[in-house]
Amino acid sequence: MNLDFDVACKLGDFLYEAQFEVDDEILVLFGHSGAGKSLSLQFIAGLMRPDRGRIELEGTTLFDSATGANLPPQARRVGYVVQELALFEHLTVEGNVSFGLPRGADKASRTRELLSLLDLEGFENRKPKTLSGGQRQRVALARALAREAPLLLLDEPFSALDDSLRVSMRKELLRLRKQLGLTILFVTHDLREAHFLADRIAVFDNGRILQLDDRGTIFKRPASRRVAELTGTSNIFSATVVATVSDGLFLEVDGLRLQADGLDGRFVPGTRVDAAIRADRINLRRGGEVRNGLLAVVSEEFAFGNNHTLHLTPVGAGPAVEVEIASRPYEVLGVKVGQEWLIEIPPGDLHVMPAE
């Protein structure tokens, strides 16, 4: 399954311009609300008409401004699930699921197949109103799968569910994807959801894709400060390249010299750059020799479930840093506000980007 998407559209003051390809994978469209993620799905489903561009699905042109081609949503063969689910409340579960199926001999058997696939057997004659959140979710998915569309468009489908249910629905989706060989475009503003589901992630901001890469690269090697911010990197420093060595760079951050692994020809000494490291990649040490060390005092701490977030203020030169640490090491180390620690910033995890 292959989708080729290249579209531009002006909506009032908002300018949308995006280009991507999807190929037998889960591509997560990630970004804040209003960034243009849902709009992308509407263009593909045929519910919104772009100003110009071209959308092609498995060799079929869905939209092409050059030729004026524009298939109606009915002819596009994509499964579409929206956040509010928009179940047909007046129809039964069975009526909902079979709505997209053509009349014919195998309509009933296909419906049964879908109901069993989504674990909805026994609920055929129930109205959606009488179902739990997870069951409603399954009905919406089964309904979208009915036409055997090669492409599934999911617009924040799990965001109305409570946490535990959301986790199990994500697993369920991965199971379905494996079982049916689905290609999925998944819109979310939830970082953890993006990380859990994505093969690749497209980071949307203000109608544009800032970066489209595999999951690991997006989180470890953001293309810019903005992407790092959007994907939850809490330590982003303004820095200057002071020297290059055979396997890396030396940077100066607030008067402190830090080393970053990996050579990038773009960065010659004197270049202004942004350097980023995720809070969970930083280590706390009692002392000793480390490559990127920084003495700092714990100024604040916050607990988030199994994780603790510490804010540390440098004793001498260097930036203030945020460190995320799991509960177990937090307790073993006996971390407290006011303590002084040697912060280790592993050179391999310090990522350098061109300054914005």
């Binding site: 489903a45 949503p73 579409y80 007046h90 109205k127």
Partner: protein, 269 residues
């Protein structure tokens, strides 16, 4: 409960009771007089009464059918379309609701009457006149009562989640199939309320009918017109007016309870 709150509660109950008495007494009076009057049962069966009842019932029902036919697309458009001037059209729909029906009658006369804007050329070309025909009764009813249906249908369509329609499109359903399989069933309680309001308004239509269609026994004399005629000294007399009113009251009660029943069932679904 403070003294002020107690006094307020007592006042509310007192006002409610006063209005309740004012509300119920006229109906009791009507029923009482009808039962006292020895000729009531005879009058209920009078030719003029039967004609008026039948005329009222079928014209109102026909009016509702026309309101559905013409009003449903308008209501749907008002609920969905976005273009400049839609607010103006929306406000215009309410005009007959606010306007005294007699004005609507005069307006119809100046448009479709023998000297009317359209009525005159039509009569010249074809010899056809609108006035004093049952058609005129239906036209008067439609103009005055259709807005009640359109208003209610529009709010019903407004309340239907557009996403449900859009999802139906992606499931391969045409706009027509989506409208009849998704939109109409979801808006059904509001459509039903609109139908009942429209029908009741058509049943009660007097002013516009009197002016535009006239008051011809068996042709344009609907129930409300027959009541007026009875007062003005037709053969039926006051007793006839009472008998006619009793019929209308019974019809209204039946419709009201039937509507409650159906609407309640629709809401439970």
């Amino acid at each position: 409960m403070s003294r002020l709150d107690r006094a307020a509660t007592a006042t509310v109950i007192f006002l409610g009771l006063c209005f309740g008495v004012f509300f119920i007494v006229p109906f009791l009076g009507l029923i009482n007089r009808a039962l006292e009057e020895p000729s009531t049962w005879e009058l209920l069966n009078a030719e003029q009464v039967r004609q008026a009842l039948w005329l009222s019932l079928w014209t109102s029902t026909f009016t509702v059918a026309l309101a559905l036919l013409f009003g449903t697309p308008i209501a749907y458009m008002l609920a969905r379309a976005k273009f400049r001037g839609i607010a103006f059209i929306d406000a215009l729909v309410d005009l007959p609701i606010v306007l005294p029906p007699t004005v609507a009658g005069v307006a119809l006369l100046t448009a479709f009457g023998r000297r009317g804007l359209i009525g005159e050329p039509i009569e010249e070309w074809t010899g056809f006149t609108f006035g004093f025909r049952t058609l005129a009764v239906i036209m008067a009813q439609l103009l005055v009562s259709a807005p009640f249906y359109i208003r209610s249908a529009k709010s019903g369509f407004d309340a239907v989640d557009i996403q449900a329609e859009r999802v139906a499109y992606t499931l391969g359903a045409s706009r027509v199939r989506t409208f009849f399989r998704i939109t109409v069933p979801l808006a059904w309680p509001a459509l039903l309320a609109g139908i009942v309001l429209c029908w009741a308004r058509a049943m009660g239509e007097l002013g516009a009918t009197l002016i535009f269609a006239g008051n011809r026994e068996g042709v344009t004399q609907t129930m409300p017109l027959a009541v007026i005629s009875a007062f003005e000294g037709s053969l039926l007399g006051l007793a006839g007016a009472i008998a006619l009113s009793l019929i209308l009251l019974v019809v209204a009660l039946v419709v009201l309870f039937a509507f409650r029943l159906v609407a309640g069932r629709a809401a439970i679904r």
